[in-house]
Symmetry: C2
């Protein structure tokens, strides 16, 4: 295309989209706004900026250079926020380490990402002790200590975080550089194979921040994020930038609350004492919060909560609603920075019956600005947006990982045909609502058709005795596969209901709603607990393996 590019005057500032640029507005307009760690330590954005400078100076003193990788192992903290900014602002790469992985997996990710420096909370001494001798690239360790550690340090630390900052200059000059510079990297926690590294540039993170702020800010009545909100993450900062919200909250100059390790009681107290109004978490955490006694006596009616990671059930949406919480679905994954869609309820749902609201709250949502999301049939052609044609969800947006680290083959599969393949199946309604019905690999192939395990789970979950449920396909001579529901019961119902009763309840609902033709072949089995991955998602691969499949 012979387009004409704009002429740039030699002195004109081209304004690369760098993470440091997110700080201009909050530092100008909210310099005294508060950031607190667990309700104890608290400081202003002015101090945040100063500490970002000190951290960069300290890391530079340890030999960290542009292009180097700095790995972080901490719970959600003000320190993590400082790393979110200081490390990429130096031109270095922040590796956010999933501390819930096994030591062997953590070893793999640090070596694979070629981490140069690792910041370690003393709580993870045992992990470091187990892997330190086998780390191939790490040159220095920095100690993070909330309280004096009760075990001796497993490695020779170059210094302690607060002491290093205190000794360093706040006046680090953060340079300009290419906006396509790598800013962050971390590893997906899929259920198959080795962890896979994804990575994001400064440009991608700035654009994600702007689009999330524009998308959430534009909400007419529900699910809105604004400059009067108080933000607290409840999806770990090591997991897809805590959904990118710490960057958004900082750009908007919000009060921010970092809760450390997630303890339901602590989280609820922080909501109460710090006036938290905006968070995000996975359904498992929401469940833990809702069953905690404290949640019954705290006013949660100002709390907005994006639910993602896996699907929220309608029963859970209703339970949250009854507690006054505005819980609604967000959709994305490690590969997508992550947010792609958010369930902003239309007036009809907000004004309608609570049950209708719950249904809409569990839908996958509407695309953020710039997100081009489509559903493809098995032939790769786009399916109509008719609310029922189910196919693979593919996406384009300005903030998708451009590949997997050092894995050309998986990268090519991810981006086959120039669109990112989410690995999810779902459908899109005429008014743009995406409904993810399942992971492609979790779909149950029965009688030559695809049956969504999630849809059946939603039906089973409606039985009052069911605490949690996972549906998988198990081999069947006649049907190919048939659905099996693994169910945990609420304690008060244990021994008072049979698998058969629940099966009949579900089969009746399935027949009456027509949700799935072959759903009636369902079998039900009671279990003590459901297998989960390190980030709390159902591990259906492990369940299938236990059933002799895979």
């Amino acid at each position: 295309m012979p387009v004409k590019l704009v002429d740039r005057t030699p002195d004109a500032y081209g304004y690369p989209l760098l993470i440091k640029q997110l700080l201009h507005t909050p530092l100008a307009t909210a310099p005294d706004q508060e950031i607190t760690y667990m309700g104890g330590r608290r400081h202003s954005y002015r101090t945040l900026r100063e500490r970002i400078g000190r951290l960069a100076s300290a890391l530079a003193g340890l030999g960290v250079d542009a292009g180097d990788t700095v790995a972080m192992m901490d719970w959600d903290s003000h320190r993590y926020l400082e790393c979110f900014f200081a490390v990429p602002m130096m031109g270095a790469i922040l590796q956010t380490v999933n501390v819930r992985l096994t030591p062997e997996q953590i070893l793999y990710t640090l070596n694979h990402a070629q981490a140069d420096v690792v910041l370690v909370n003393a709580e993870f001494f045992s992990i470091i002790a187990a892997i330190a001798p086998r780390l191939t690239t790490v040159r220095r360790f920095v100690l993070i200590e909330d309280a004096p550690a009760d075990t001796p340090p497993p490695v020779d630390f170059a210094g302690e975080y607060e002491a290093l900052l205190a000794a360093a200059s706040p006046d680090y000059e953060f340079p300009d550089f290419d906006e396509n510079a790598k800013a962050t990297t971390f590893y997906t926690t899929g259920t198959t194979g080795l962890p896979k590294g994804v990575y994001f540039s400064h440009r991608q993170l700035v654009l994600h921040t702007l689009a999330v702020a524009a998308g959430l800010g534009g909400a007419a009545r529900q699910g809105r994020l604004h400059r009067g909100d108080v933000y607290m993450p409840i999806t770990p900062m090591f997991h897809v930038h805590a959904w990118g919200l710490p960057y958004v909250a900082t750009m908007l100059g919000l009060k921010q609350v970092y809760p450390g390790r997630y303890v339901p009681e602590t989280l609820l107290k922080l909501v109460r004492d710090e006036g938290v109004t905006f968070s995000h978490c996975v359904p498992t955490i929401l469940h833990m919060l809702l069953v905690h006694p404290l949640s019954k006596v705290i006013d949660l009616s100002r709390w907005k909560l994006i639910i993602g990671g896996s699907a929220m059930s309608q029963a859970q949406a209703r339970a949250a609603q009854e507690r006054g919480i505005d819980a609604f679905t967000g959709y994305g994954m490690s590969e997508t920075c992550p947010i792609l869609t958010v369930a902003f309820l239309p007036d009809a749902a907000l004004d309608g019956a609570p049950a209708d609201q719950a249904a809409q709250r569990t839908l996958t949502g509407l695309p953020l600005p710039l997100v081009d999301i489509r559903v493809l049939g098995q032939d790769g052609a786009e399916l109509p947006r008719d609310g029922h044609s189910v196919g693979e969800v593919v996406v384009r947006s300005p903030w998708l990982t451009q590949g997997y680290l050092h894995d050309a083959e998986a990268s090519a599969t991810l981006w086959q045909g120039g669109v990112l393949h989410t690995g999810d199946i779902g459908h899109i309604s005429p008014d743009g609502w995406l409904k993810v019905t399942d992971r492609i690999k979790d779909v149950i192939k029965t009688g030559g058709e695809w049956t969504s395990s999630l849809q059946i789970e939603d039906v089973v979950a409606q039985h009052p005795a069911v605490a949690d449920v996972a549906v998988i396909g198990v081999p069947d001579a006649k049907w190919g596969e048939r659905p099996l529901a693994k169910v945990t019961l609420k304690p008060e119902h244990a021994g008072k209901v049979t698998p058969h009763e629940i099966r009949n309840f579900a089969a009746k609902l399935i027949e009456s709603t027509g949700v799935s033709r072959y759903g009636v072949l369902l079998q039900v089995e009671f279990v003590e607990a459901l297998a989960r991955t390190s980030v709390g998602k159902l591990n259906k691969r492990a369940m299938r393996e236990a059933q002799g499949r895979e």
Copy 2:
């Protein structure tokens, strides 16, 4: 900087920031949303997309190619919105022509921008008749006709807009290209010298759109734009993209109302009948709307109105407030796409006395995300943000013109030192509020000090007999310059008040508020009307010339 750039998998989509990408979300989520022209013609976003395709096909049929310039001469219309998208989406450049300039100036801008095709509303036949023989680059004209023209066409038209669209295919394939491609160009309407061309890239317009949506969306209580709003521009689409709001409104999928030529009665009726909730205009238009009898009987309490172009007086802010309108200041200029800052009122002002609110509503505002705005002293050093140190306002943001078209010297001056010089003077408060106190060239130099003409205007405007006021500096043997207020009176006060009375009123206020040390040297003169530029701004250059200065 040896940063590491992200590795892009060959098939990965890099996602250039192109104007076409703004359409993904509204077409998916609001395909049936309405766009109306003057409350008569109305169609959906689906139709908008189809017409964008048709317009591109039609223009291609007329020989328009990537890199060509397509000039538009129309009032605010659905057609203009179509041009905002179709022309740049083809890789061509949209020139938005200021139809209020003189024919000679319009001739100059079309030749200077090397326009290839001109779309002309029949209302502007006389302009075209006057300049057509001297257009050096225009190859084709397209006719726009709301009603059959009553004069013969002054040139040979290649076709009429609606007929061309009807005959063209909606299935134009909009290609990808470099996001730094020029998308729009237009000419500043300064008071000195020839008009100067500014230009904006796809990337700049997309980033402006996102940041405006994020900034307005993030407003906690007042000045918020959201997906439930109904948008109508009252700053012309030829003038800095109607402040960029048509792009924002489209991205958010809002109902949009295009009012044609600005007629106060029509505008007010559209607000009433179409439920308009979000607009923007200059103070002169706000004045015309507030004095119109219809404004007294229409419910304007849902109307949010950004006021810019020149400063809103506190008296006007109060008058708007009394009518229930949420009027607040936005700041920017042709060179800045335009929006840089918006006056989002803090809780203290919103909960406080109406008078305090009015003061804050007339402040220049808080910076949008990514906007880095500073005030420099005469030595070029940054001044403290203390709320009173006055200096030149300079800015960096990702959406500033990178120069003036074919004018290297003016471009270098604009960008001297790597910051864009706004030509305004002002100060910034510790909490980020910018207050522009004057144009550098309108500052009155009295007794060796700078006195702001705008501050004195604000004082004079508080006299109940004053309809409008402009303060300029006039030569004075003793003081260098002294301020002269040119005043128009409200009709009911004419003949009942003397210049001397108003001078004394103002001098007393100036003394008691300490707003300006030399303001008390003020002289007052009554005039029939104030000289204005083509876009309705006070033309102080003309006034000074009439006083024998310049």
